[in-house]
Structures are given as structure tokens and as C-alpha cells.
Symmetry: C4
Subunit: 249 residues, 4 copies
């Protein structure tokens, strides 16, 4: 593979993002969130206006770092040989709408996809959920026939953005959404965090299924408990983890 010098320079200045996206895609496969060639992760450098994303239809065990595709904000390929994931336009819609989103992941994980197929939002019925999201996990509205026929993948992304704006959801308060009839999309500040959120979503959904099976009349946990867990891990009063303790030692 011969690449022009300009292309090499672009890939070089995006090398950390490429590495992050490559590792995140391999992790999707390793933790069992997607079979075959399904699923994809991307990450954006908002400053440079460049996105790194998995190529379309490449098996995870064949995926090499150099296969990761770079594109601009319009989805035009830059310094790359392979075609990007067909879901790229969905990712771009999220990046355009929300500067706080640094990476996007889509999988077909079993339990999250089952909730998406059932068009059933996941209520916040436990602290594991509240540790990651302060609200129920929404499902997008079904798409019209014309939006399916033309610019389908872009319209998926816009249906996500629309649902979030309609429900006044800040992406930092809920890093998960379910695309109706389809499957989950998650995000985060970078690709590893977006995959972490995909792993967590799958567990939340599996536990929600069994919880609902055990208690048909399950209710959302109290707002005070949601806030306690969410803000224990997020925001200026967070006290989970090591970020302060090392300094205050």
C-alpha cells in the first residue's frame, strides 16, 4: 500500500485517535457485544474536524490499525483506502449536534437490541443504571417510509438527535439510546469510554429484563437515589475513584 506524503501526515496527526478507535473496535468484539462484522466505534477530533471510524464489513479478527478510516465532517474519506462503516452518517449527525460527544459506538448486543426491538425504554430501576444515567434510556421514534428510503443512516442519527432534543436530554446525563427496531447507540468523551458505556448498557438491559420478569409493577427508583449515584460518579462533587485521593494523601 503506497500512501502519499500528505495522507501520511494526516494519519500521523490523528494517530492517537486512530489507535483509540482501533482498540475500541477490537474491544467490542472481545467482550462479545457484536458478532461477525456487526457494530462499530468512531471518535472525533472536534478541533480538526476529523473522524476516525471502523471500515465497513471487515471482520474484527482481520481489522488492522491502518484499516481505520478517516473522514471529514461531511463523511468524505481522507487518507484512507477502505470504505467507512455504512453507519458513519449516524455518527456524524451526533457529532454535529453535540460538541460534548467525542466518540460513538453502535452494537447489536443481545439484551439492549431486544429492548430496542420491543420499542421499550429502560426505566431507571436500579443503582447500576443510575451510576451511568440519571434518566430512563429512551427509544427513538419510528422512522417514516421516506426517511428510510433516502439518507437512511443520516436519518437514524437525526432521529437520535431529535429524540434527545425533544426529551431535553444532555448527552452527558445519559450516554445511551435505543434506535427503535434496530439496536443501541452509546457515546462518551472518547472511544474507550463509549465502549465502556456499551458494556454497561448491555448489563443494565439484561438486569432490567429479569427485574421486570420478577416484578411486573416495577417502578423507577426515587430521584434522590438516582441523583446520589449519578453525582457520586459525575460532576464537581464526584467522590468515586482516585482522582482526588492521590493529591490529598
Amino acid at each position: 500500500m503506497v500512501m502519499k506524503t500528505a495522507a501520511q501526515a494526516v494519519r500521523k496527526k490523528m494517530s492517537k485517535v486512530i489507535e483509540s478507535v482501533w482498540q475500541a473496535n477490537l474491544l467490542i468484539d472481545r467482550v462479545g457485544l457484536a458478532s461477525l462484522t456487526w457494530g462499530n466505534a468512531s471518535q472525533i477530533d472536534h478541533g480538526k474536524g476529523l473522524i476516525a471510524i471502523k471500515p465497513s464489513g471487515i471482520a474484527y479478527d482481520k481489522l488492522k490499525r491502518d484499516d481505520i478510516v478517516l473522514t471529514d465532517m461531511k463523511g468524505v474519506k481522507i487518507a484512507s483506502n477502505l470504505r467507512p462503516s455504512s453507519d458513519l452518517p449516524s455518527h456524524l449527525a451526533l457529532y454535529r449536534a453535540f460538541p460534548s460527544i467525542g466518540a460513538v459506538v453502535h452494537t447489536h448486543s443481545i439484551f439492549a437490541t431486544s429492548f430496542a426491538q420491543a420499542c421499550r425504554p429502560v426505566p431507571c430501576i436500579g443503582t447500576t443504571h443510575a451510576d451511568y444515567s440519571s434518566m430512563e434510556i429512551p427509544v427513538t421514534n419510528p422512522m417514516s417510509k421516506s426517511k428510510i428510503s433516502t439518507d437512511y443512516e443520516k436519518n437514524i442519527g437525526e432521529s437520535i438527535v431529535h429524540k434527545m432534543q425533544q426529551s431535553r436530554i444532555d448527552p452527558r446525563q445519559c450516554p445511551f439510546i435505543l434506535v427503535a427496531n434496530h439496536g443501541p447507540v452509546t457515546w462518551g468523551q472518547d472511544a474507550p469510554k463509549a465502549v465502556e458505556n456499551a458494556i454497561v448498557l448491555e448489563q443494565i438491559c439484561q438486569m432490567a429484563l429479569w427485574t421486570i420478569t420478577l416484578n411486573k409493577n416495577i417502578k423507577t427508583i426515587p430521584q434522590a437515589l438516582i441523583d446520589k449515584h449519578f453525582f457520586r460518579k459525575h460532576g464537581v462533587h464526584a467522590y468515586y475513584g482516585q482522582e482526588k485521593s492521590k493529591k490529598t494523601q
Copy 2:
């Protein structure tokens, strides 16, 4: 093991098909679609009129390339020592009826077998399903006592063919079927593709079970969405994967 020269020549000219069938059978075991000696994969060379298939009752961890059995279209063993899978006549019925089928796989995978045992077709309730099949996954009709007593395995194959013809199903539109009370059969252009379809069917069935659990009144997704997903991956307008992008780079 001493083989006659003629036999060696036959196996040599079928060596790619034998390798493909051997690898496909090992994959059935590796991905957990069948336990013990259950399940089998075959592949046909329609031009030569020869089929390669797993031998009967051999454990996957003992299965060697040379154990793969060759037969003609009537199921007569050729250039092989072992007895072919007892399900061979089912495979032959499919090969006779559908020239577009190049390989057949049968497993006892947990969730697909559960739908087969429940005699419940799998409705197309998600895009994962639509990516692989543009219709609901059918269940064969129960077999009469006389068809069970005589030529049982051949009659299984013919019950599959009958169901497909009755429902006007082109095997390229739906690579899956459930044999009533028994388990799944899948196909494809070659053995790796037929196993891929068996993997996908198991995931579709597991997700369908949880979706139905979450939403008793689940309906088929809109035809436009089915078509969008199916034709994104199949036919002349497919745009998933790398087949065109490499040329148009």
C-alpha cells in the same frame, strides 16, 4: 489407511470443498452451536454432482480432514471410509430442489431449537433479522406417521422444500428454516456462509425471545425497513462492505 488411486483423485479434485466443509464443521463446534457429535455441515459442487459432508457420530475434537465423506447426488459414498451424517438425505433434498444452495448446515443451537420445538415462526421484528432475511423464518409442517417411519431424513428435507415452495420462498431471500419439533437448518453459497447464517439465526432467535417477553404484542417491522436492510447487504444495489470501495478508491 490405504486408498485406491481413483479415490485419491476424486478427493483431490474436491479438496477445496472438503477443506471448506471440514473448517465449517469445526466452526459449528467452536462457536457453541452444537454439543457432542450433534450438527453437521455439507457443501455441494453442483457441476461435479458431488457432496462433502461430516461423517456420522464423530466428536468434533476428533474430526480430521480425511474423515469428511464424499457422496454422489444419490447419497452413495465415494472415495470415503466413514458413514456420512445420517442427515445427508435432508441435505440432498435441498440440493436437488435449489441450485442456488451451495451448502447446508444443521445444528441444535439452543434458541433456534426452542423456536422449532415451539413450532413458532420467528417474525421479522428487528433490523438484525432483516439484514439476513426479508421475511419471517418459517417452520415446516409436522410430518405424518408414514413419513416418519420410512425415509425419515429424506422426508425432513422434502418437508423443508415443500414449505418453501408453498410459501414461495426463494432460498436467497431467507437462508433459515426451522424443522418442526426438531431444530434449525440454514444454507448459503458455501459452507462458511451457511455456518455464518446458523450463528446469525441463533442470535436472531435469542433476541426474538427476549423481545417477545418484553412486548407480547410485538409486530413485524415496516416492509420499507426490511427492504432497506436486506437490500443494503444483498443484490446489485448493496453498499455494505468493501466490494466496490476498493475499486472506486
Copy 3:
């Protein structure tokens, strides 16, 4: 560990049975049928009147061949240092009642134990079941308080024997039973076969659970189909596997 010469001689003449029981116990652990120290396998030499069985409470990853305990038909330890599994008297009751039983396995595998806890027999609703058993898998009757208090483990074995005699079950027709409120017991001609039956039972039970979930009114499959599958693998007219084909080649 010093053993007397007589003890060494006994262990030597039982060495194949000891090896078989040791491997079978390791397999119980490897395939995930039991956690921690749960579960046990034994095998009898009916001619010698000697049984080899797992010692009580030893973790599978510490289990050595020399730890396998030998006993006589009354459960008296012979040529062994460790205490036998506390379930030995259950095994002995089966060996005394049925000369066709050569080995017994008990596990706490998830799905079989769930049916046992539910006191719900497993109806024959699929060919996977019929391949191994020509009838529904029975559940023992609950035990009286006095039978629980005295000779508990022996009484478990006798409750199995009683259920089989009451229902006129030949152990060769159904190698599985569920002890009410407790868990599964399986048997076979030797320990590897009894463990194989434990693996199969777990799959049958998991598939039965999902089948019942999908179809509340599920009925037993036709007797002709049960017989076809059972006798395809058992008895003088069996034609599955390689036993005849090699000779008739």
C-alpha cells in the same frame, strides 16, 4: 501417603474404573455443570462389587486420581484415604436396583436444577430429548420428614428407584431423573456416558424452558417421532454413528 500392599493391589485392579471416574469428575467441572465442590460421578464394577467415587468436598481443581475413593456395595471404604461423597448411598441404591446402570452422576446444573426445584417433569417436546430418552423426564416424589431425618442420602436413591419402578421406567430408556427440590441425577454404562447424559439433560432443560415460554400449550411430540429418534441411536436397529459402516465399507 503410604498404602498397604493389599490396598495397592485393589486400586490396581480397579485402575481403569478409577481413571474413568476421575476424568468424568474433571469433565463435570470443565463443562460447567457444577460449581465449587458440588456434583459427583461414580462407576461400579458389578462383577467385583466395587465402586469408585469422588471424595467429599474436594475442589475440582485439586482433585487427583489417587483421591478417588473405592468402596464396597455397602459403602465401606476400601484402599482409600478420603471420605467418599456424601451422596454415595444414593448411588449405591441405584446400583443395587439396576444391574444395567454402570455409572451415576449428580450435578447442580442450572436449568435441570430449576426443573427439579419446580417439581416439574420435562415433557418430550423435541427430537433432542427423544434422541436420549423415549419418555418424559420424571421428578421423584417429595420425601417424608422421617426419610429426610434418617439415612437421607440412601432414601434419595430409593426415592429414585421407587419413582422408576412406579412408572415402569427401564433405566436404558431414560438416563435422567430429577430429585424433587434438589437437582438432576443421570446414569449410563460408564462414567463418561453418564456425564454426557448430564450435559444433554442440561441442554434439554434449557430448551424446554424457552419452548414453554414461547408456547404455553406445548404438547408432547408424536410417539412415532419419539420412537424414530430414540431407536435411531439405541438398540439393534440403530444406524447413527460409525459402528457398522466401518465393517460394511
Copy 4:
């Protein structure tokens, strides 16, 4: 990392407890009871008034023996660099209330968390349960808003203690509890035993879910059967395992 001599001396005299806690935390991850940084194990030396516990927010694959945090009974860090698990105050409440508790484990294991989220106690419906607990597994009462807002983790621990005292539960009779809306807590004489109990609880909960699915009207097993199993493994009349047999050989 430079540590003062006094700190080194403290860690040295607690080295066995530190090792035990470190291994127990690694085991939580290895057996799949918690994802990411979730879950934690601690162990106390009641005589020294010192506790060893997992640090907060450290990934299991990065956890080193020296990361294990020591604290006193008030939760003040001793001879340690990292911040202890945010759940430390819950553990301390248990250690203060029950001298028989030597170690505490908290996980987010799927099935136990589902029962906790459903606020549904786990009835004793099988002998696997009775082997470890002679009663139903309780769920704590929901916490008031003020107890959530202030000293949340300490109040979780006190809600456990309160539930046990209210229901007159000796921690040696039931090493499991479910924190309402949250997840499981288990204990034992040392950290390996507390993790073993967490493994067992997860299996009991999974089997209970399927048992309830199969039999909506399931009832607790007879007290005689519970007692038989519990006291076969616990107390002066226990006869499971090797502890006596070796001596009486």
C-alpha cells in the same frame, strides 16, 4: 513509592489479610461477578481493629497487592496511598455489628442484582439454597431521602444490620442479603469464603428465577429438608467434606 517504616510494619503484620483480600478481589473479576471497577471485597482483623479493602475505581486487571487499602474501624486510611472503596462505610457497619463476620463482598452480579432491583426476597426453594442458608434471602427496606443524602454508604450498611436484627438473622445462618434497588452483599469468616458465597448467591438467584418462571406458585421447601442440608454442612454435626474423615481413617 516511598513508605515510612511504621507504615511498612503495619502492612507487614496485615500481610496475610492483604493477600487474602487481593486474591478475593481478583476472583470476583475472574468468575464474572462484576464488570469494570464494580464490586469489592474486604476482610477484618477484629483483634487488631484493622480492615483491608479494595481501592476505589481501580480496574481489576490493574489491581496490585500494594493497592489494597488498610483502614481502622472508623475508616481512616493507614499505611496506604489510595482511597478505599466508596462502599467502605457499609462494610464497617457490618463489622461493628457482627463479630462473627470476618469479610464482606459486594458485587453487581446479574441475577442477584435483578432480585435486589425487584425488591423480592429469594425464597428457599431448593437444597442448593439450603446448603448455604437456612432461611429466605432478605431484601433491606428502602432508605429515606435523608439517609440517602447524608452518610449514604454508612446508612446502606446500617440498613443491612437493621434488617437482620429486625428479622432476628444470625449472619452465620444466612451469609447473603440484597440491598433494595441496588445489589447483593455477602460475608464469611474470610474473604475467599465471602466470595464463594457471592458465587453461590448468583447461582441460587438464577435458579430461583427459572424455577419461579416454571412454577408461579412455588413454595418454600419443608423445614426438615432445609435443616438437613444446612446442618449437613454447618455446625457440630456436619458430615460433608474431609475434616473428620482424615482423622478417622
